[in-house]
Each structure stands twice: as C-alpha cells, then as structure tokens.
Subunit: 250 residues, 2 copies
C-alpha cells in the first residue's frame, strides 16, 4: 500500500487540488484509492461532492474517538475512489491531542489496520501542527506542491527542518520527498525563474510533470467533481493524469 502525503505549510500552493486530482487519476487507472482529508477546512471533502452536514462520522472520530478508518470512509466518490472526510470538528483534535503521547502516530497506526487499497493519499492544512505531523509520520512518499511564485523557496527551509526532526526523532529513517511545481504560468518570467530554482536545488526529486495554471482546476470543486470528470481534456486534467502515470512509474 503506497501512502502519499501532500504537505506544505504555505497557504494556497495546490495541496488540495493535487490530493484530489492525483487520487482521482490513480483510481481511474484502476488503483483502489483512499483519500484522507486531514484538514479541518475540509476542502478535499467538498471538492469530491461530499455534503459535510450529512456526515455523522469523520476523520475526527478516528483521531479522537479511536474509530478505524474503515468506519468513516465514504465510498465511491469517483470510480475506485473513496474518501475519509473531514469537517470543522477536526480543529478540536489539534487542541485535544496536545498532551497525548504518540499523538503524531495515530494515522500511521490506523493505516496498519486498513486493507483493500493500493494508494492512500493524505491532504493536510497550511500549518506544521499535529495533523500535518501525522501525515509526515504515516507516509512512504511526501509530495510537496510548490507554487511557482516568489515565496516558494522561502517557507521551504522550515518545512525541511520539521521533516528532518520527524525523520530523526519519530521515524529513524528518511522520508522520500517529491516536489511538484504547481500553478505554472508559462507566460511569466516569474514562473520560469522559480521552476528553474526549484529544479536546480532539488534536482531529480522534482516531478517531471508540471501543473499549469488552468481555471478549470479552480472550477471543478464547485461541481463536486475531480477534473477527470469535470473537464478531462483541459491542460490541468492532462497534467494530473500524467502525474499519476509518473507516480505509478516510480
């Protein structure tokens, strides 16, 4: 079971858009896929058409009430794609878990009890708190979306510090990292310069696939669908499909 976390504390850099659409294309290619929404904002949950008000149980109950992941899964939000949804209750988890030992390993432990999936993806909030830490501890691959704008490299050193701490103190092994250039605007020098900087710095840890800026990607959530079902011929769709192929190829 491949576990891919999507994390970067920089706001609005494409975490949710990547978690949702990469999941959808892995599923479309026949891989049984689970998306875990670990963000109290629940944008991934909404993007896949799940009505939060109807949810009796969410990932909050896994984190705090010791339910299993299978107990909260909403199946078939897209072909072969299930979701473990989040709503605002989850923000209480960050507070409630503050002094519990092993609070960063809850998701990792719950995943051990999970069967029947080829891929699990985890969407995270723009912060480096307990929820993101859970995703770092649980994953075999960490996907770091990097918006091709000025602050891309800025926040990176903080994220890399936290990853190093998790590797040394919680895992005793290193996390495989993959950087994904997002919201690339080919008409601007800024995008090109940032992309070059990222590739120069992180070399073959950077996905070949680059996600272009495409308004269809921003519209799809309002239809409750991944781009694969909303506008499969758009440049954004083709890029995420290509990303899924690249992920499966590795």
């Amino acid at each position: 079971m491949e576990i891919l976390s999507v994390a970067n504390q920089k706001g609005g850099c494409g975490k949710t858009t990547t978690a949702v659409n990469l999941s959808a294309y892995l599923a479309q290619k026949g891989k049984r896929t689970l998306l875990i929404d670990l963000d109290p904002q629940g944008a991934a949950t909404t993007s896949l058409g799940v009505k939060k008000r109807t949810l009796e149980r969410t990932i909050y109950n896994v984190m705090v009430d010791d339910l299993g992941l299978a107990d909260v899964v909403v199946p078939d939000v897209a072909p072969s794609l299930d979701i473990a949804p989040a709503n605002m209750n989850l923000s209480a988890a960050e507070q409630g878990l503050v002094n519990q030992p092993g609070r960063e390993t809850i998701i990792k432990m719950k995943l051990k009890a999970l069967n029947g999936y080829d891929y699990v993806l985890i969407d995270t909030p723009p912060s480096l708190g307990i929820l993101t830490l859970n995703s770092l501890v649980a994953c075999n691959t960490l996907i770091i979306p990097v918006q091709t704008e000025y602050f891309a490299m800025e926040g990176m050193s903080q994220l890399l510090k936290i990853i190093k701490m998790v590797e040394e103190r919680l895992l005793g092994s290193s996390i495989k990292r993959r950087y994904l250039l997002t919201m690339y605007d080919a008409r601007t020098n800024l995008s090109k310069e940032v992309a070059e900087q990222v590739r120069e710095h992180f070399q073959d840890q950077v996905f070949k696939t680059v996600i272009p800026r495409s308004v269809k990607l921003a519209e799809a959530p309002s239809h409750g669908k991944p781009i694969s079902l909303h506008e499969p011929d758009s440049p954004g769709a083709k890029a995420y499909e290509q990303l899924a192929a690249e992920v499966m190829g590795q």
Copy 2:
C-alpha cells in the same frame, strides 16, 4: 490611530499582498504607517526587503519577552512605512503562550503604548490560533481578503464563528468587517460568480475596490519592494492605491 488587521484562515488568499501594499499606499499618501508581521512565515517582512537573518529582535520578543513594539520596529522600509518584523522564532510563541491568561490581548496592550502612527496594519497566518486571535482583539477594522475562487465562501463560516466568539467573550463589542475581493480574473465566469455571491451576502461591507490578478503583484516581493515602488502603473498597483483611498475615505 486606525488599526487594521488582515485575516482569513484560507491559505493564499492575498493577506500578505494586501497588508504590504495597502500599508505602502497609506504611507505614500502621507499617513505614518506601521505594518506588524504576525506570521512566523514572515512573508510581509521579506516582501519589504528586510533580511531576516540580520534581525536581533522581532515581534516574537514583543509576544514573549515583553519588549515594546517600538523596540523591534525597522523604520523606513518604504517612505513613511515602518515594519515590526517576524521570523520563524514566532512559531514558538503559539506553543509558549498556550496556557497564559490574556494571551490573546498582548498586541492590543502593546499598541496602547505606541505613538506616532496614523495607521497600523497587522498581517496574520492562515490559521485561527493565538496570533490571529491577537490581531482580531487588537483591531478597529478587520479586512478579510476573499480570493474569487470556489472556496471563498466555504471557510467563511468558521472565520465568522471565531469573530463572533471574540466579540462576545473578549471584546463585548463588534468588530467592523470589510471584505476585499482579491485575485479577480475578469476573463473567467468563476471570478464573476464568486464576486456576486460575496457582494450579495455581505453587501456594503464589501470594498468597492477589487484587486485584479496581476503577475506584477507576485513579482514585487522578489525585489523586496511594495508594488508602489516596483510597478506603480500596473493594474495591481492602481487597485491598491484606490483601496488606500477607499480606506481613508471611510
């Protein structure tokens, strides 16, 4: 002294771009302005050309070591514009203050001791923790940037809940709210639809000024300058100049 906080827990919706450029234009119009960077990511600090590694004292020392705001100010980052800068140390403040009574009122109290400014702006992180709470308690006006994309209205209810709690439990009075439509892309229906939704919902609490998507605004931080000094004739610059006039007119 007018105190304007810029807050919205949604990542990447234009808080820093607004805090930096609105400050710069208020200052350019002759108002002595202080920008307080209350985000450990310190994007506002970097956007104004301040080299964080050279900082001996930052807003962290105000929050945790009881320094005054005047003790950490970096003067004249632009004409008539000073900044109280932030760096990564500030992330320790959210932890360190967790059990201190009155931890949400620190900035408000420190502002009482501050003289010599017409406007104070406060930039905040994409979260609803102690730093953002300090900005809500301290301000006379709360500016809420709203990116004209699908999740604009989604995260709003959580923010409004927190504002209501602050008004009822910490202030005993209401916070004046102003919504600012940001990253507006006139070529897309999505932007138009979201803008209409926001205006319909919040009516005359929405600024008339709308900030267009403009790559110059994304480039300016890499030059360490506000847009007023980087590209004053660009559409993004004119919009923030107009916003400053609208703020001063109110």
